[in-house]
């Protein structure tokens, strides 16, 4: 049963990769990268159960933490054009 879930996750990963390659805007690519990160976390967790080594879950946790930081960093860069920007006040938006 883990193999079936892993197969479904692989299909979903390929589809998300298609969007990441084809996405017309950078936000499409960031969205696809975020989805790929989530799917990779699930893949790691399922793979750990599939091979009987649940230690893979630690890798999944680490991947998730890196994923959220990476997504926010990329978005901040493309919104403000600078990673060190403190951000605009709300009223100026």
């Amino acid at each position: 049963m883990f193999a079936a879930a892993a197969l479904a996750l692989l299909v979903a990963l390929v589809l998300a990769l298609v969007r990441a390659v084809a996405g017309p805007t950078v936000f499409d690519r960031a969205l696809a990268a975020n989805a790929i990160g989530t799917l990779a976390m699930m893949m790691l967790a399922v793979f750990g159960f599939l091979t009987g080594r649940p230690e893979f879950l630690d890798l999944a946790i680490l991947y998730g933490l890196l994923n959220i930081v990476g997504t926010i960093a990329v978005l901040k860069f493309f919104r403000y054009g600078d990673l060190g920007d403190p951000g605009e006040p709300e009223a100026k938006r």
């Binding site: 589809l15 969205l31 989805a35 399922v46 926010i72």
Partner: protein, 107 residues
């Protein structure tokens, strides 16, 4: 009891995998960026949640279950935040919000 848990976790895993494929399909097929964010949210909430629940039933009361819960909590909080930041950044950079798309005959 154990067989019941097995069947239940099997169903949860299959449903989670199906939702992941559905979300990824939507990510490819939907036309507008803001529509695609919804499809990505299906992966994050339904797909990941169901798969984690299925694995949780397999793990039982062990440290593995705690790690699965941590992963679930991480996804639960981080992924809507990321999606919100994404849509917000896209809006701030001037990606158009259009109610009507060009003629559907294009596809």
């Amino acid at each position: 009891m154990s067989a019941l848990l097995d069947v239940l976790s099997w169903a949860l895993l299959i449903a989670g995998g199906a939702f992941c494929v559905i979300g990824a399909l939507g990510l490819v097929r939907l036309r507008r960026f803001y529509a695609r964010t919804h499809a990505a949210s299906v992966i994050d909430s339904a797909g990941a949640g169901l798969i984690l629940a299925g694995l949780l039933l397999q793990a039982g009361w062990t440290l593995v279950a705690v790690k699965l819960l941590v992963i679930g909590l991480l996804i639960f909080f981080a992924s809507p935040t990321a999606t919100h930041a994404l849509a917000n950044a896209a809006l701030a950079r001037g990606l158009k919000l259009e109610a009507h798309e060009e003629a559907p005959s294009k596809r």
